[in-house]
Amino acid sequence: MAEDDPELAELISRAGAEVIHADDEQSPIVCAPIGEDSTAVAVREGLDHRRLVAIDTLTPSDKRITIMTAPGADPAARDGIAALLSSLGLAVTVIADSPGFIAPRIRAMIANLGCEMAQTGVASPDDIDTAMTLGLNYPQGPLALTDAMGPEIVLAILDTLSAITADPRYRPSLWLRRRALLGLSALDV
């Protein structure tokens, strides 16, 4: 299935690993979920959660990469993938199972709050982005961040977080949902 996920395939290929296309019931299984945790992927796909390692490919960086596993995962699978990614010169952050890892989850929340502020008229979209970059030294404003991640991706992360956690904190803003569904920029009024 490597061809289905080119970014993950490229990462693995760069590390020099061989990707096989049939389950030999012993090799580690890697995935790159959008908003899901490893547990959800394993259950949905009927995969062996002990060998499943999720890699955050939504946050590309030449410095660091995050991986996570479900409860009960085989440490050998986790450490093997960590070693593989370390060989690319990346610092590997190994975390416990989390819907949305760390970065996609925090970035989606920044984006969503920015969208909600636009929706509720706290300020104009442009002023929201200007304020957050100048006032907090953010690398980009929340609405520009939404566009950079892709409104559809942010919506997918939040919908999944909402479903998994049942916490209204993760409810996608209508501003985001409408623009994602219509294929618009988050800065479009």
């Binding site: 299935m1 693995i12 949905r44 006032g135 997918a156 904190r169 409810r171």
Partner: protein, 326 residues
């Protein structure tokens, strides 16, 4: 008041000679306007005048300001010993303690001495402008002008309109902000205004992730720095700001009712960092699930890639290569 574009000189009164008041005074005079500083504490205004003068001299030493411009700026830096001394100001910016009763009293006193077309602005970061204005008679000339610390280095200024603030007042403050070398943004008069509201997601979600024992504060910080371009992780930022400042602001912002920050008030993580009566100077990484990269890694020459997209949004993905269902 007359728009500053048509006015050759603008006099701005500053009430409060603390860090914010000093910074506002500095950008006022380097912006070619006159600053009159007042502070209720004896000698505080004079100390501020001396401090700001020194800061202007340093700008000259660093070749960031011409000597002539510095001399002119310092000549525009004056102090007064009573609120009555601000009577001729076109605008007075209040930058005192965050206490609504004290602010209301100052605003009422200013109303009594200022001309009817003078503007009164508050530099408050957390109190609603309408609440302050409720103590005044002429509310159309009252607004928020929220600077960020340190003022000379932070270019942003929030112009906050209460329901009764006039268009002319907001526009004049925006123009004056530009003359001060700031970038004004217009914000609604609600808890946290713009920046203090928008900034909640970063820290509260970091806290949430740490609370779930997904990762340690140090791990979260490292990911956000290295992978997302933030200068500081959420925990480093809270350290810098001070948990004692961050948590109360989170509680104030909670009043917006925005669901995305709904959990900020009750974060066990924050409460653990800040137990009753104790303001933690440094949060310690107590929420650890630190799984270190293997020192003796197991080779993984063969592996299986799984499809990982659980769903497609109704519209097409912007990056169709991100994931797909097979």
């Amino acid at each position: 008041m007359t728009s500053p574009d048509q006015q050759t000189s603008t006099t701005i009164g500053i009430v409060g000679a603390g860090a914010m008041g000093r910074g506002i005074a500095q950008v006022t005079v380097t912006g070619g306007m006159t600053a009159l500083i007042y502070d209720a504490a004896e000698g505080a205004a004079a100390k501020a005048q001396e401090f700001v003068g020194g800061m202007i001299d340093r700008l000259v030493e660093k070749n960031r300001l011409e000597a002539d411009a510095a001399t002119e700026a310092k000549s525009g830096l004056q102090i007064v010993d009573s609120l009555e001394g601000l009577a001729d100001c076109d605008l007075v910016i209040e930058a005192i303690v965050e206490n609504i009763e004290i602010k209301q009293q100052v605003f009422k006193s200013l109303e009594a001495v200022l001309s009817d077309d003078a503007i009164i602005a508050s530099n408050t970061s957390s109190i609603r402008i309408a609440s302050i204005a409720s103590a005044c008679e002429k509310r159309d000339r009252i607004a928020g002008m929220h600077f960020f610390n340190p003022v000379p280095l932070m270019r942003l200024v929030e112009i906050i309109r209460a329901p009764e603030t006039s268009d002319a007042t907001a526009e004049t403050l925006s123009d004056i902000g530009k003359r001060m070398g700031r970038t004004p943004v217009a914000a609604q008069d609600g808890p946290g205004f713009l920046v203090n509201l928008g900034g909640r997601a970063y820290t509260t979600e970091g806290l949430r992730i740490a609370t779930e024992c997904v990762a340690s504060p140090a791990q979260i910080d490292a990911v956000m720095r290295d992978c997302c371009g933030f200068r500081m992780g959420p925990f480093e930022l809270m350290d810098l700001t001070g948990i004692d400042v961050n948590f109360p602001v989170s509680k104030i912002v909670f009043l917006t009712g925005i669901s995305m920050i709904s959990a900020s008030r009750r974060h066990r993580c924050t409460r653990r960092f800040m137990p009753p009566g104790v303001m933690a100077a440094k949060p310690t990484p107590v929420f650890l699930t630190t799984l270190k990269t293997a020192r003796n890694p197991v080779a993984a020459p063969r592996l299986i890639m799984s499809r990982t997209s659980n769903r497609r949004p109704a519209s097409s993905w912007p990056r169709t290569t991100r994931n797909s269902l097979s």
